[in-house]
Each structure stands twice: as C-alpha cells, then as structure tokens.
Symmetry: D3
Subunit: 292 residues, 6 copies
Amino acid sequence: WWSPGQAVVRAAASSGGPRPPYTTLAVSQPQQFVTHVELHRPEKLNAMSRAEMVELFSELAGNPDCRVVVFSGAGKMFTAGIDLMDMASDVLQPVGEDTARISWNLRKKIAEYQETFSVIERCPKPVVVAVHGACIGGGVDLITACDIRLCTQDAWFQVKEVDVGLAADVGTLQRLPKVIGSRSLVNELALTARKMFADEAASSGLVSRVFADKEAMMAGAMELAGEIAGRSPVAVQGTKVNLLYSRDHSVAEGLDYMASWNMSMLQTEDVMKSAQAALEKKSPKTVVFSKL
Amino acid sequence: WWSPGQAVVRAAASSGGPRPPYTTLAVSQPQQFVTHVELHRPEKLNAMSRAEMVELFSELAGNPDCRVVVFSGAGKMFTAGIDLMDMASDVLQPVGEDTARISWNLRKKIAEYQETFSVIERCPKPVVVAVHGACIGGGVDLITACDIRLCTQDAWFQVKEVDVGLAADVGTLQRLPKVIGSRSLVNELALTARKMFADEAASSGLVSRVFADKEAMMAGAMELAGEIAGRSPVAVQGTKVNLLYSRDHSVAEGLDYMASWNMSMLQTEDVMKSAQAALEKKSPKTVVFSKL
Amino acid sequence: WWSPGQAVVRAAASSGGPRPPYTTLAVSQPQQFVTHVELHRPEKLNAMSRAEMVELFSELAGNPDCRVVVFSGAGKMFTAGIDLMDMASDVLQPVGEDTARISWNLRKKIAEYQETFSVIERCPKPVVVAVHGACIGGGVDLITACDIRLCTQDAWFQVKEVDVGLAADVGTLQRLPKVIGSRSLVNELALTARKMFADEAASSGLVSRVFADKEAMMAGAMELAGEIAGRSPVAVQGTKVNLLYSRDHSVAEGLDYMASWNMSMLQTEDVMKSAQAALEKKSPKTVVFSKL
Amino acid sequence: WWSPGQAVVRAAASSGGPRPPYTTLAVSQPQQFVTHVELHRPEKLNAMSRAEMVELFSELAGNPDCRVVVFSGAGKMFTAGIDLMDMASDVLQPVGEDTARISWNLRKKIAEYQETFSVIERCPKPVVVAVHGACIGGGVDLITACDIRLCTQDAWFQVKEVDVGLAADVGTLQRLPKVIGSRSLVNELALTARKMFADEAASSGLVSRVFADKEAMMAGAMELAGEIAGRSPVAVQGTKVNLLYSRDHSVAEGLDYMASWNMSMLQTEDVMKSAQAALEKKSPKTVVFSKL
Amino acid sequence: WWSPGQAVVRAAASSGGPRPPYTTLAVSQPQQFVTHVELHRPEKLNAMSRAEMVELFSELAGNPDCRVVVFSGAGKMFTAGIDLMDMASDVLQPVGEDTARISWNLRKKIAEYQETFSVIERCPKPVVVAVHGACIGGGVDLITACDIRLCTQDAWFQVKEVDVGLAADVGTLQRLPKVIGSRSLVNELALTARKMFADEAASSGLVSRVFADKEAMMAGAMELAGEIAGRSPVAVQGTKVNLLYSRDHSVAEGLDYMASWNMSMLQTEDVMKSAQAALEKKSPKTVVFSKL
Amino acid sequence: WWSPGQAVVRAAASSGGPRPPYTTLAVSQPQQFVTHVELHRPEKLNAMSRAEMVELFSELAGNPDCRVVVFSGAGKMFTAGIDLMDMASDVLQPVGEDTARISWNLRKKIAEYQETFSVIERCPKPVVVAVHGACIGGGVDLITACDIRLCTQDAWFQVKEVDVGLAADVGTLQRLPKVIGSRSLVNELALTARKMFADEAASSGLVSRVFADKEAMMAGAMELAGEIAGRSPVAVQGTKVNLLYSRDHSVAEGLDYMASWNMSMLQTEDVMKSAQAALEKKSPKTVVFSKL
C-alpha cells in the first residue's frame, strides 16, 4: 500500500558504519523525524552490545527530532544474538562465595540483559524492525520488544536458548506469546529451537509483511516510518503507550487509564490542525506539528 | 457450514428504518429470539449516536425475547464512526475554567463515549456484527466490542484516530490486541491509520468469515444467529459471560469463577432437555427452553 | 523439518493397550525419555477417566525418565470427551438437601473435573498431543491444556457443551482464547458448537501442523518429542514453567519471575555441556544430561 | 484539633426531614460546598432505600456546589440496614422457572444492591459518615464505602448477615478487610455477628474519632467537612480518586496512574492560588476556587 | 461477651493425646460441629508434622460434622515450629547433581512445606487458633493461615527464620502483612527476629483477644467456636471463602465473585429458617441446619 | 527490648555534615555494615534533593559494606519536604507548546520525583527511618518508602499537598494506605492536611516505637540497625525483597515467587553457619557472613 521514494531508498542503503560514541550501532536520520538504527558489527555477526542499546534508546526516548525508529542489521544477517563472549564471562564464570551469592549476582546480570530490550519498549517512539537473514537468540528477544516487524523472504528466526541449556530469560518467553496468536507454535519454537522461515513468520503474524529482498524491505520500512513520522507525535506516542498498557491489563483497566491519559492529550492543538487538514482534503503528513 | 433459508433472507433484507424511540437504529426481530439492529442513518454515513446505543443494549440485556443480536449497517457502508459534530462540540470546545477543570470534564466525556461500546460487551446476549463497505474509527471500536465478526468482500477497516491527532480512546487500543493474534499488525494499523481489506481481516482473524456480498452476509449472519438462538440461553449467555471473564484474568482465576458460576447454572432443566434431544438424535434447536 | 526413523514409527504403532493400574490409558516409552500416553478405551470412544489422568500425570511430573509426553488416542477417533455416564451421575443427580448444598457439591465436582486437565499443565514435562478423527467436548479441554498440538487431515474439533445446555466449565472457555489468536473464531466455536476441521485448525493456529494420516502424525510427533527429549531437561522444563507463567502475568512480572528462576538454573552444568557440544559442532541431542 | 462553630451546630441539628424527590433522605447544605445527607426514616429504623441512594449520589457526583458530604442518621440510631421488606420479596420469593433462572435473577438483584453503596465510592466528593447508636447489616456495607468514619460513644456495629443465613454480599466482606488492619477481628465480626462497640471501633481503626454524643459528633463532622470543602476541589477529588485506585492496585501501578492523572491536574490555577495564600500566611480556606 | 460453660471447659481441658492415624495431633469433638485439634508432641516442643497437617485438614474440609476448628497446643508452649530434624535433611542435605537440580528439588520441598499451612486456608471451615507460651517460626506461618487468633497473657511470637540464615518461606512473609495493619511492625519482626509479647500482639491486631491463662483461653475459644458452629454452615463457609477471595482481589472483583457465589447460596433453606428464628426472637443457634 | 551501647550513641551524635559528592546528605558508617544517612541542609529545613537521593541509594544497593541504613534529619526537624524552589520551576513554569506537550513534560517530572523515593524501596538493604520534629509533604512520601519507622515524642507528620492545591503524587497516596491499617485515618490525613502527632503515629502503626528525645531515638535506631546488620545478609535482603513482593501480589503468587527465590538462596552457607551458632547457643550476630 505504499511505494518507496528514491531519496528514501538511497538514504537507507548506506549507513557508513558506527560513529562515536557508538561502536556497534550506526545511527542516522534518513528522513525528518525518522531515526535509522543499524546493528553494525558484521565481523561479530551483529552481536548486540548491551550498554550501547540502553544508551541509545534512552537518548532517543527524549529526543524530539526522533518520532519513529527503523532498526535493521548491516551485512549478511540481522543478528546472531547477544555477544557470547560478553555473556560467557557473566554467566559461565559467575562470582560469589556460595550458591546464594552467585545467584544474587546472576540475577543482577539477567536483569541488566533484560533491560537491553525493555528500553526499546519503554521508548515512546514506535520502532519498526526490519529483519534479513538470520535472527537468532537475543535477536528474537530484540524484535519482540519492537512494535512492527518486517522481514525479507530469506529471513529466519530461531529461539536458540534451549540448545545451549537454558530457558530464554531476556524477553522471548514473556513477549513472544503476546506477539503471535498460536500458542502451539510459540511452544514448539521455544522447546525445540527449530528455525522458522519467512512464510511461517508471516502466516503466524510475527511479521506484518515479507519483502523480496533487503533493498525492498528497507524502502518499505522507511516508507512506513514516514507514514508514522508525519502524524501527530502526541497521537502516535500516546498510541504506543496505551497499546503497551493494554497488553498487560484488563480491558476495563485499559479504558480507565486511557481516559485519564487523554483528558489532557485531547487538548493538543494537533487535533485542530489535523481536523483542518482533513477538511481541506490534505494528508495529515502535510501538517507541521510542534515538537514533542 | 450453514445454508440460509429464504424467510431469513427476506427478513434481513428490509428493515424499514428506525422507529421511535430510536432515530438512528432500526430494530427488528427477523426470527424468534434474534434481534436485528441496523445502524440506519445513511445521510450521515451511519454515524453512531451514543445515547441510543446505550439505551438499546441496556434494554436488550434484560429482554428475554432477545437471545442473540445481529448488528449491521444500512446503505452504502457499515459506518464512518462516531458523529463528528457530536464529538466536535464535546472535544474541541471543552468546558472548564482552567486546564484541570477542562481535563476533568473531558474525562467524563471520554468515559461516556467508552460506555457506548462497553454496553455491548456487558449485554450477555452474543452480538454478531456484519460489516460491509467502510468501517472507520468508532466503527472499529464498535466491532471489537462484539462477539463474532463477519464481513463482505468489499469491506475495509481503518483505525482512523491517529489521522486526526489523537490516540483512539474508546476501545480500539484496548480490545483490538485481544481480538486478533498479530501484535505487529495491530500496531501498524493503529500507528499508520492504513486501511485493512477483507482478505487481511480474514487471515488475521479479525473476522471469522468473508462473504461475496451483503445479501449473502446477512443470510449467513442470520443463519449463524439462528444457531445460537436455538440453543439453551443459560448455556449461551453463561458462555459469553465466562469468555469475557477469561479474557481479563489468569486461567486459574477463570476456572475458579467458572466453577462458582456453574454450581448453580448446571442445575438448569436445559441440561436434561438437551440431553433428551441428543438421545433422540434431535437438534438442540428443536428444544423449547424457558425464558431467560 | 524432521524425518521419522523406522524404530520410532514401530514403537508408536502398537501400544498393546492399558496395563495396570490403568484401564483406560496405555503408557509406554518408545524412546529414551519419551513417554507415550494413549487414550485406549475404544469401546467407549476413548471417553476419559478423571482419576487415571490425575494419577498418571502426577506420576510423570516427578519421573526423571520422562522428559516429554506424546498423547494420542487409540482406534477410530481421538476422544468423544468425558465419560457421560460418570458425569451424568455427578451432574444430573446432584446431592444435597437444598439448592445451596447441591451447588456446594456441584462446585466440588466441577473443580475435580477441571483438575483432570490442569494436572497436564502443572506437569513440567512438555506434552505433545496428536489428534486424529473426532475431538469433542472434554477432548478440547484436554488439548488446550497440552503444549503442542498436531492433527491429521481427517481430524475435527467441537466445543460441544452448549449443545447439552451448559457453558464449558473444565477449561475450554479459559484456555482456548489464549491458545488461538482469533477471538471471533473462539466465540463462534463456543457459542454454536460447530465442527472445525483440520485446515481451519491449522490456519487459526490451534495446531502447529497437519499430517496426511495417523501414521505420519505419530511419526512426526515422536520425532518432535525426540527433539525435545534430547535437550537439557533444566532448559526444557524451565521453558515450560516460564511460558505458562507469562501467559497469566504482565511482561514486567514475567521478566522478574524469570530472573529469579534462572539465577539458580543458569548454574547448571548443562550450559557448559551444551556449549561444548556447540563448539564441537555436535547436536545438543548428543549430550548426556543428568537426570531431573 | 478542631472546635465546632455555633452556626454549624445549629445547621446540623435540625434537618426538617426528607423533601421530594426523596422520601427517606433529608438533604441540606449547612455550609457552602458541604452537603448533609441524613437517613430519615425513623419509623423504619432508617432502613435504606436502594433507589434513592443511587439517585442522590449520582446527582452529587456532578454537582459543583457539593464538595464534601456528611452522612448521618436521624432519630435513635444510625440504621438497622437494608429494608427487610424490600429485600424479602427480592430474595425470599425469587423468580425463575428453574434453579439456573432463579440464580440469574438473584445475581442481578445482588448487583443492584451492591450498587447502592458502590455509588458512594464512585462519587469523587469525600463522604464523612457519622454514626450514633446501632449500625447493623447494610449499615456496615454503607459505612465501609464512605471515606472517613466517626461515631458517638454509644455507637455499635454489627455484621449481621451470618445470623440470617447468608454471607454478606453487598460490600462488607470486600471492603471491611481493607478498612481496618486486624484480619482476626474482621473474621470474628463477620463469622459471629457479634456487636462491636465504639472503643473497639476506634482502637481497631474503623472510626477515626469517637465523640461523647451526637451533637458533638455532628459539630465535629461539620467542622471536618468544612476543612475539606475549603480546599481546592481539584486537589481533594483527585486525592479521593487516587486513594481508591491505590487500594486495588500495586504501588507501581498506582504511581503510574497518579503521574498520568496529575500531568493535567497540576496545571490548575489552584496551585498558584494556594501557593499565594501560603506565602501570605493565609489558610487555604480563604482562597476562592473555581467550580469543579 | 461470652461466658464459658462448664462442659466445654472440661472437654477442652484433656485431650488424651493423639490417636491413629495421627501421632502428633490429638483430634476431638468437644461440642457438636466443633473439632478440637491439638498439637500434641510435647517432647518435641510441638514441632509440626507436615504430612499429618495436610491429611487432617483435607479430611476436615469435607467432613460435615466439622463446622469450625479450634487449634491449640498441648503442654508448655504452642509450638517451636517445624520439626528441625525433618527439615534439616530436606534443606541442609539437598539432593541433585548440580546447582540447578538441587534448586529444582528444593523448590518442590518448599512448596510441600507451604502446603502444610495453605491447607488450613483452603479448608472452608473457620479455624480459631489459641496460642499459649511460645509460638516460633513455623508457628507464625501456621497462625497467620488461621482465621481468628487468640492468646494467653504469657504468649509470645517470633518470626525466627532470619536467625537461621533464611527468608521465611512457608507463609509468614506473605500472610503476616495482610493480617496486621502496621507494616513497620511486620518489617521489624521479620528483619530482627525479636519476640513480640501478648500486649503488642493485641494492640497490633495479630490476636483479637488476650486471656489470663490457658484455661480461660480454651474456654473462650470453645465459646467462640460454639457461636460459629451454631450458625448456618452455608453462611459461615461462604463468608470464609469470600473473605479470602477479597484479600487477594480488588473490591470490584470481590463484589462480582460474591454475586456469582450468592446467586445460588441465597437459595438455601437456611435463610428462611434463620429469618423464622429471628421473628420468634430466638438465637440462630437454636435452628437445626442441614449438613454441609 | 534493646539497650544502646555508648559507642553507638557517640557515632550517631555528630555526623559532621555532608561530604562530596553530596551537599545535602551526610553519609557515615557508625557500625560495621550500618550506613547512617542524614538529611543535612538545616538552612533549608532539610529540603530533599532529588538527584542526591537517587545517586546515594543506587550506590548503597550494590555496596556490600552496607547491610542496613539508618535515615535521619540534622537540626531542628526531620524535613519540610521537597525543595519548593526546585519544584516551583518544574511545576509552576511548565514547558511545552500546548497543553498536551506541557502534560507530557510534567509527567516526566512527576516520574522523576517518584523515583526519589522508589529508589529506597528498590534498595534491598532495610532502611530504618528516625523522625524528630516536623515531617511534612515529601517527608511523608519518604518515610512510607522506608521499612521501619521510629519517631520522637515531639515528632509530627503532615500530608501537606492538598493545602497547596494538588493530590500528593510522589508516593504517599500509594504507600500510606499499605503502611497503616486504618483507612479512615489515611483518608482524613490526606484530605485535610491535618497534623498527626507521635502518639497517634504509634497507635495507628505508622511508627513502631516512640522515643523521649532524639538522642534516645538515634541510640535505639542504631541498636535496631545493629540487630539487622548482624544477621545473614542473604536472609535479611531476601526478606525485604519478598515482603515488598507480597505487598503487591496475592498470597498464592507470593508463595510461588518465594519458592523460586529460596530454591537457590537456601543453598547459602549462612544457614549452616547460623545453625551452628544456634547449637552453640551463640547469637547469630557472632557469625561472620560472607559479603553480599
């Protein structure tokens, strides 16, 4: 339902790699209000760095020039997961003078790893994730914390943790069942670590759309991001906040929270501006909204 | 799996328009125990009237001659949403001497609009909604509060609110994620206001079935309603009540509530009557159940 | 993605029928760590016996030789549900000197029937259920309490209760909506008692996979069970426990529970053994894990 | 900490009895913004009328001239509970053609009776209840739905329901344990129907204060109501709403709701007006706040 | 408010010690419908036996001759807690081949110990516990799972666990804060293991009443139990069930559950019998209620 | 039950004022494992600094030399609340181009202020707070986030917010009702802003103990802290974590969490060390526990 413009495609095509302070993430702004975050550590199969993820998304959460994020991976695949070397020292050589103290320290580590992805969820700007090639282990934790999932025809997904002797503990077991509708499939993926390919990802609802190749996907992701970036940030970010609230509460509680939220947010000038545009048969994307 | 009878089709075909006290809803009884509610305000694109919805469904909730409701729209489309003129005065010209007082009054208004659709959910009679053409904004709030959704091949759905500068606050953000399985799709619809057409509505599970045209759909809806109306109202309404309870509670809590519910409801004569019919190889629809 | 071995197929093919203490369940061990439970009461259409289910799954929960269960039905169909004769005396001839006392006793009975299937959920070993032919009433309660669902092309499913005058009260109304993504479909099935066939079961996500016939399905089920049985039981059972916890809690609560769970479970030797196998490019199934 | 003024005492002393549309409630306004509601049906021991309670508190909820309510009883005692004659016909002669239908109708009745008191809780204006003499059965349901409880030295309280063969079902079992700290006492009162006198009511925290006689209590209640009525209604009513929210949610959820509530309410001019008064060493009661 | 009768005092005075199948519990029936359970293992300071507690309370839950339980300790003190020898082997010599497997087994053990006291809570008959002398460790877990707490002037309570290097894990940390109102006191007791004596137990609401000595307490406990036993068991047990439900749910959820509970329970003949007694100015204790 | 030692009294008597990086908090270690935090900004009536509180308690949370915190105020009073000058600029001159944007920014500010006290709750080391003189506004938010509350005879407490036109939004409305048992008192304090003096603070359970003067209180606080510091940190901190978990969950959920927590924590060497001390009739305070 959208057709990518040329400028957008070019912008998305070459990120140029990470710039300080980031060493594993390339951050750019291919369109106004659209931030492109690229996992860029091809030599390590785009293994994610915990600290950089937290730093970046905390920054984006408060940055008014960012209204939507496109997240993708550079090189041959999306990501092979969390950096095993990082994790090995944390998990395989745990510190503490007895089992209880080792457990106490491990719990802190697990909570820190969980934060790597929860920070995406807490960021009120929608995150569109675009997956090509492999998306393994921590990659699945990552994408289930994003808002909209796209992939290429050659993408595949693997909840890998059971293969290395552990229950996935940084988000997949909590979020995957709330992201796709078939519980039998969720259980099968998590209990067998089998790969799921693009077609099943689409039919199961994990991704909203499959693209022929990465170039088409990036163009599609940017176009979609543009649609979101062009709308009222008060409306868009309030929508994300309340969709997440609803996921974890009853309908009655969600309605009550929504009413208390919108009693102020409806007083935005954006409603009048948008209504005016609608009366003039213009797209909401033509409206200039104040920063948020 | 069902084939519409002629009488039913005729009954559904012509509603004759609203009769007092309703001015926007045509209410009729095409079959025993089946109430047909038709949004009938074609000149206003079937914009919904808050007060009439609440009045009607409160009445139906206690009316023993109604065991199931079929809800549809007259004219060219299902509905363009809540009446913008109603809403504009409420929302765009809010009353109050400072921001807090305006907020206080807006919150009351939002709660009243939410009630327009929550009243459908609280009505213990199942509501089958049949959508043709456009279903926009408040229309999506409405159908997600119904129990079974059907549509025609030409139907389309649009979570429109973000286009007018606000987060959807009368039910869509709360109910849509609990109605379809793909969270990526829910987010995309709510954040971009894009249209979703009948095929995607079916594959995503928003509707159970797509029909070639409105006539076929209405026949199908009436047949389906007849299936429900012919069964024990104690069983049917207890099923609706407990399905809704389960949506908002853990499995353990749902089981406990169910046990406390059925400790009385199992003492219905309907069980014996139904068992008798089963032994005689008759359909449960041949049984005459007492009023409820 | 898996191809059944010959031995497994043979093992699965003939169970030889129940052995004491069971009279309705045939229990065997076709592969190491895989328990095959077969409903084996063909003369009664595999009607389930409450007491035997509870006894068996309580035993399996603590049996280290069982790491995964395959559950299937002998004869012409999966199951016609709970034994009506059992239930009739419980429900149709309730005991008690007034309505309150009858209710009190009925509540106890309902809770006992609920336990028949909750015991499957509480067993930390994953249960793969393989359905051929009819799966009616209590059969649906049963399969929604299992972890992974498979079926043959000739399978069909029916939430039958509304046909006999009651709201399904032993698990279907609580679990089915959390097992498949389309709420419209769930409501339709529960309110009309219509049959759902294999294709719709697959497209709706009720089952993960449809097989041409029972032999193929049993081979597939055994192969799948073998995949699970070959992985670390600490990882597999921790995964089941946490997936169930997540179903009934918010994401934040699920993450917190997971961290407290894994602070000890990560200290398993299975992680090192699995990592070693991975380094040596061996399947995790080649590792010998200690009993659990 | 307060000393009653003469005018207030006089105002409180004589209500003159009910005026239309009320026949059991005398409603007056002894001070600006203070509404005095008096149960006034001495010939029936102040038995409460369900319909009038709901009508009155629904009205007060939206009436800007009411900022706080004082609730008391006329004559010899506070109240002997719900009108037994009303209730007898509802409960002892239940309507319905079988047990299930009788149950269905009884559930509706119970819900209506519960509403009699829940309407007090939902009214955002604080309710100070002043009890003298007997407070029995429905009286306890009533006072636990109020915000602040006062009594005279001769007051006594009785959770009477167990004496008439039923579990208290219109609020006491739900609210009393959240109103006083000793669960052992709550259980004892509810299981034995014993009377609790003023001293124990004070030491257990059921009431905040005991007065020598009714005149002193009414003076105290009016003075207390005056303190509340003189403060910002935005602050006072927001406090009631959030205290009730907190009762039923975790601390984290309560904080989140509070932040979403106050993001608009802090924008009230009342903060500046109150701060100004504080700088000038004036009581907040000297400030004129806009209506709410 | 009650005066003990002679017969009751005698009955309570001498239990004669345990009879099979119990070796640590003396069970007798000093009054109709009142079961007296006495911890009777003076040589081991009344250390509790897990298995016997579970067996006994499971039996009492379904025994119509038991309508209320009085629980006390024989000899010099109430109880010194769980049998350390039992526990030592379970906890100090844990079984399992690595930390994860030891943890897995410990979790099962903890759950079993928790069940020792949860079984009291699940038993629908109210339990009045009468404490004299020391009540230490597991003793506090026990009494917080009971419904009404009484003690002698020489009683003292100690949350002992922190002294032996562990967080109390069989109920005290979960139930004590919901049993008394001062959180500062709960924290102090649990974090310092200091003793709390009878006066503070009374003023904090842990116990409802303090008696001069054990004889007076047992007489008081029996009289109180008699009050409960003499009332409608439908009313009494429904009250316990709903009070426990309310503890763990919001007020709105508690009211909803209550309505679904009482829609059947109000149909008891006990209401009419009790009302009749009230009209005749008789005590409800004179009514003969059918068994439950 | 404890008597202060001389050294402790001296240590507590003079803090010497803040040292970098703190300018408003004096931090010292009067005993091993006991951290004394003193609000030290007498010229500003000990107005709290948000940033320093967060920094300090985040540090203490991970500092093994701190096992318990004593929190008190220097000079004439405990604290007059949050620094009004800080807050005025945040709240009275809000930033944003329309009401929605101002609300968005205010919500962030409120969340930051809430964090000032939530950081105390999240710190697993118990916090004993010792109040003398005035404790106003933010002071009440602070003390309700602490674990054990003590005060002097001249202390008084005031929930001040309603006096300045706002509902208390940084913790009091959420935590106070879970800290004391009388809801009538909580409501009265929050709705009238009246002062509560030491005796009522004690009888209502807000504080565990009242001391004659500040010197006696500090000695008492230090002695109490010493009791906690001398016990196993695995036991003490696990107790705090689980008491907080229990506050916000049902008993069943609390027990489940506890079992998953202690399955590792019971494997501490501290249990054996403590048991050994007990056998030798030594105080647990004589044991040397490893760091945590």
